[in-house]
Amino acid sequence: MKLIVTALIVCALLVSGVRYALLIQAQIREYREKQGSDLAVPRDGSLNGVDSAGALLQSGLSGIESRELPGYLVLFVLHRQDAANEVQFWNKVADAKPHLESASIRPVRFWGICDDGANCNPFASSAHFRIVGYLDPYQMHAVAKADLRREALLYDRRGALLAELAQAKTPEAETALILQQVK
């Protein structure tokens, strides 16, 4: 009798062990997927926001609205603490628009996403690009992820992510990175 009870206990423990092993395997898969999505920037964009003047921006890239010609859109983060320097840097990149547009044959636009909501608005008058404080949660999450890696995001005319651009040391180098992608 004792032997039968012992054998039953061993069987129950074996079944439980196998069950947990299978559960762990599934959970590890879920964990890896989560890790992957935590790091990756999604390939599609939701390029809608509100700029420093409180105007609703719809990029026109995603087909929602076609007020603007289809083209490329560069999103980068403007850090309020260093906004004066960063505006200067990105102004030089934005000033290369004619060069970029003649190479790509399409408009290239720049949105500087403020890391402090509307608090970069005082820089709007000196910026040669749009300052945007608010985006769709989906897009803002992508921008925040890219900023953790000090990257800008380049979207194509279909609103798909074309490239994650590393923050270059000079505006000329940044322009060259964009040019490489759009030509």
Binding site: L3, T6, I9, V10, L13, L14, S16, G17, Y20, A21, L23, I24, Q27, I28, E30, Y31, K34, S37, P42, S46, N48, G49, V50, G54, L56, Q58, I64, V77, I113, C114, D115, D116, G117, G133, Y134, L135, D136, P137, Y138, Q139, M140, H141, V143, A144, K145, D147
Partner: protein
């Protein structure tokens, strides 16, 4: 035979502990993160200022998501209790166009455009999500997927703990 039982019990205990650890780590939100006070532009283009509240109930939803409609009785009950306790209730759509503006939401703000701090904290990749935050933005309770009766009672318990 007895030693086999001991070994199997130890293995089971180890597996159980590891399973719960990895299940915890796979959660959409780490409980240690802090959310900023929800603010930004609403679907009707008005601005929602970052004003303090006793607690916040956030709901990421989409009109096209079937699971977002499944738990309406539980969600509405949670909203009613949260509002009674002085919580600010905010719904969000991950992308513009996923939720139609609704003028008759009974004090619920339909937030559409967020700043980078809220954008970073919020994981926009699955709907529905329901998150209860205390006044400091700390997660008191959260649920990925429809709210079932068991998770509703957890949420109501978390609400009473917020006080």
């Amino acid at each position: 035979m007895e030693s086999a039982i001991v070994v199997l019990m130890v293995v089971n205990a180890f597996e159980m502990a590891f399973f719960f650890k990895i299940q915890h780590d796979s959660r959409i939100y780490n409980r240690s993160i802090h959310f900023p006070v929800p603010s930004g532009y609403l679907l009707d283009s008005s601005f929602l200022p970052a004003s303090a509240a006793h607690c916040f109930l956030l709901r990421l939803t989409s009109d096209a998501c079937p699971y977002c409609h499944l738990d309406q009785p539980e969600y509405k009950r949670l909203v009613a209790e949260a509002q009674k306790d002085g919580c600010k209730v905010v719904t969000l759509a991950a992308k513009l166009g996923q939720v139609k503006p609704n003028g008759n939401l009974g004090g619920i703000a339909q937030l559409q455009f967020v700043d980078i701090n809220l954008g970073q904290a919020l994981n926009p990749y699955s709907t529905p999500q329901t998150i209860l935050l205390n006044s400091d933005g700390k997660i008191a309770w959260d649920r990925e997927g429809s709210i079932d009766p068991a998770s509703l009672s957890e949420a109501l318990h978390a609400l009473t703990k917020i006080g």
